[in-house]
């Protein structure tokens, strides 16, 4: 066992960090919020050039077929810089759905994702009722049971089981404003059915696992971005003749943020390993990672705002680029309560052996 990133994985993360530092992500996020997708999509194309959009696409389909650990390393950096756009959807979940479809249907889309020409998004009720940034996406999918959770029938393929898992190409409807100005959730209507039945069910399950894991990494990265930003502020902002970071109340609040983030990260890597290995514990491990990283990111967000004070409550301050994003992301891809319930159910299942020690426990 060697539970540490390899040098290559660290270098990959560092290279993405450098790319995103140079790309001025905060400016792109502000432009995205006003409806100007240009600067943001340019960064998405740069990331595709660095291999990010091919990570979750199998090699046989033209992607990199990377280990999910590399996907979470990348997502952590995208969260670290407040990259706008449907990252968990386009980079993690959609490739799983497309990978399950016949090549003549999905081949072009997958090639577009890998090359960076295509950004895709997804609605999957009930946990993802809207397709994020559907107006910026070249492909919008809808996944779920043929009967919508509201009971409103979606367009089930004729003669099929109304409860069968189904993947549709979707048609964007009304867009909503989000509490996060850089998120634009769209209602969708089902278009052509791309797949239905047991194969689709497996693909949807896998897509939700990848998307949830990616959301955990995005949240942990966002927490780190907020911590970095706030530590810089606390070092330089003077009050009572001292940097506010010299006050113990500020120090301890930021230490608590650091602790939460530090102990969320190993859960994310372990969940990525379980997902890769198709381990029986994968659902449990992904939910555990999401619970810990969303809690840590939310603590980071509240603390960042509080330590910044009044300036933190302005659009001008970069705290605004993460604050509502963190809160929105931690309600998408399953609520904290649902993920805790998943963990508990796995631990109390008849086959669970939580007393078993060792790395595989």
């Amino acid at each position: 066992m060697r539970f540490a990133l390899s040098d290559e994985q660290r270098q990959f993360g560092a290279a993405l960090h450098e790319l995103l530092c140079d790309a001025d992500v905060p400016a792109a996020a502000r432009a995205w919020a006003t409806g100007d997708r240009g600067p943001g999509l340019a960064i998405w194309r740069q990331l595709a050039g660095a291999g990010v959009s091919g990570l979750a696409v199998p090699e046989t389909l033209g992607g990199l077929g990377a280990h999910p650990v590399e996907l979470v390393v990348a997502c952590e950096e995208l969260g670290h810089h407040p990259l706008p756009g449907p990252a968990a959807e386009s980079l993690a979940a959609v490739p799983q759905l497309l990978g399950s479809l016949p090549g003549d249907i999905a081949g072009g889309w997958l090639a577009g994702l890998v090359s960076g020409e295509l950004v895709a998004t997804l609605a999957a009720p009930p946990s993802l009722p809207f397709a994020l940034d559907a107006d910026a996406a070249g492909l919008v999918l809808l996944a779920g049971r043929a009967t919508a959770p509201t009971g409103e029938p979606l367009s089930a393929p004729a003669g099929s089981d109304p409860d069968a898992a189904t993947i549709w190409q979707a048609l964007p409807g009304d867009g909503h404003r989000s509490a996060d100005r850089a998120r634009h959730p769209f209602e969708v209507r089902p278009g052509p059915v791309l797949a239905s039945g047991s194969g689709a069910a497996d693909a949807v399950r896998l897509a939700m696992s990848y998307g949830t894991l990616a959301s955990a990494a995005l949240l942990a990265g966002a927490g780190r971005g907020l911590l970095d930003l706030t530590v810089r502020h606390a070092r330089t902002r003077l009050q009572f003749g001292r940097p506010i970071g010299a006050f113990q109340a500020v120090k301890h609040a930021l230490a608590n943020v650091a602790i939460g983030l530090e102990f969320a990260r190993p859960l994310i890597y372990a969940a990525a390993i379980a997902l890769h290995d198709d381990a029986a514990t994968a659902a449990r491990d992904i939910s555990a990672a999401r619970v810990a990283s969303a809690d840590a990111a939310r603590r980071a967000a509240r603390t960042a705002l509080q330590v910044h004070g009044g300036i933190g409550y302005t659009l001008e301050c970069d705290v605004s680029l993460w604050l509502a994003k963190v809160r929105a992301l931690s309600s998408a891809w399953g609520s904290q309560a649902e993920h805790r319930a998943t963990v508990l159910a796995a631990l109390t299942a008849p086959a669970a052996d939580h007393q078993r020690t060792g790395p595989w426990s």
Binding site: A4, R235, G245, A246, A255, A292, V343, L347
Partner: protein, 387 residues
């Protein structure tokens, strides 16, 4: 990054599990904080040592097995899983021994480590003083230089008072910091010394803890002679020597993840037996397991860093706050599952150990450097905030 079980680790784990299953006392030993219980725990250490399992990570010449860090972690996991007794020699094994391996002389290692491993000598720690708690550098107890004469070697006379000295009520020897240069202040001019708790001039006054038992004691020192051979490191360098020990105390050695993984497992069993339809409590049970798993995985990561030649410094403060708060929340959740019964359940009854475990968990955020001190260390040394 992988979590593949390592063959050598798993073989070692299997051996430890088999031995512990056969030998862990049932019913459990009586409290280590009574004379009778202390003697029983000392005997248990002897049994462990005879099986070659007392100090698995030490070199063979001192009674160890040269176990790797990963093997040591596996041993700890199995120890807690089996419900093994409190390690009465813990202060010596996990605090003094690492200091001797780093800063001690060969003579000291040869003299001190073997009887420590068999618990023939049990060690207490003597850091805190009435005026030096969180502010450890305010130590006022002194070590005054005495030159040798025909009857005795050169050495030091200790004078002052130590307190919150774990295990001192029944232990044999102690180690701690003393001000050897009265002209200095704070971190300078301190010397790290070992002394005999039964030497002339030593008075030990046990202090009853929350549970009524003397888990720690005050030590009064009235011109207690210590020979030069019991100075660890150079005189005046004690702070630096001690700091290498405290990061062990906060980090890997004192609280191995096995303890929390085992406690979270027992909590889940309790939840299942309780059969409550209380979603809020269920969420706390899930959080307890998530926390224990996070601490376990984080420790695997630390081991990987250490095996690659890294060192453990201020990072250990992150873990100390995390595990001590986790410990309290696991115990609090257990008590809430037991409801009004927990206060009357005692050792030996089903679920009877939660009350004692809970009281002990409340000390965690205080000892080994309060969590407030740790948070300041994290802020200043890891985040780079100004002092």
């Amino acid at each position: 990054v992988n979590l593949e079980p390592d063959q050598a680790v798993e073989a070692f784990r299997a051996e430890a599990r088999a031995w512990l299953t056969a030998h862990v006392p049932d019913p459990p030993l009586s409290s280590v904080n009574t004379a009778e219980g202390f003697a029983a725990h000392r005997q248990w250490e002897r049994t462990l040592a005879d099986a070659g399992l007392a100090v698995v990570s030490w070199p063979q010449r001192y009674g160890g097995r040269d176990a790797s860090l990963a093997q040591w972690l596996a041993f700890e996991e199995e120890y807690y899983r089996a419900g093994g007794p409190v390690r009465v020699g813990q202060n010596g094994l996990f605090l003094l021994a690492p200091t001797l391996f780093t800063h001690g002389t060969q003579e000291q290692r040869d003299r001190v480590l073997a009887p420590m491993a068999t618990a023939e000598q049990v060690w207490a720690q003597a850091w805190s003083e009435p005026g030096a708690g969180s502010d450890l550098a305010a130590i006022a107890s002194t070590a005054v230089r005495v030159e040798g004469d025909g009857d005795r070697s050169a050495g030091w006379l200790l004078r002052g008072q130590k307190t919150w000295s774990s295990r001192a009520a029944f232990a044999d020897r102690a180690f701690g910091l003393f001000r050897s240069d009265p002209s200095t202040e704070r971190h300078r001019g301190l010397t790290y010394l070992m002394f005999d708790l039964r030497a002339p001039g030593v008075t030990v006054r046990p202090i009853a803890q929350l549970d009524g038992e003397p888990g720690f004691a005050e030590i009064f020192l009235d011109d207690v002679f210590v020979p030069d051979i019991d100075v660890i490191g150079e005189p005046g360098e004690g702070w630096r020597v001690a700091m290498s020990t405290t990061s062990h105390e906060r980090g890997l050695s004192l609280r191995s993840p096995g303890r929390f993984v085992a406690a979270a497992g027992r909590l889940i069993e309790l939840w299942q037996r309780a059969g409550l339809a209380d979603a809020a409590l269920g969420e706390r049970v899930a959080d307890a397991w998530i926390g224990a798993r996070a601490y376990q995985l984080h420790t695997f990561g630390t081991v990987a860093e250490l095996e690659a030649g890294g060192t453990l410094g201020a990072e250990s403060s992150l873990g100390k706050v995390f595990w001590s708060e986790l410990d309290v929340s696991i115990c609090e959740t257990a008590l809430d599952l037991l409801g009004p019964w927990w206060e009357v359940l005692g050792p030996g009854e089903p679920d009877g150990d939660w009350a004692g475990t809970y009281l002990f968990s409340l000390a965690g955020p205080i000892y080994a450097g309060t969590n407030e001190i740790q948070r300041s260390v994290i802020a200043e040394r890891l985040l780079g905030l100004p002092r």
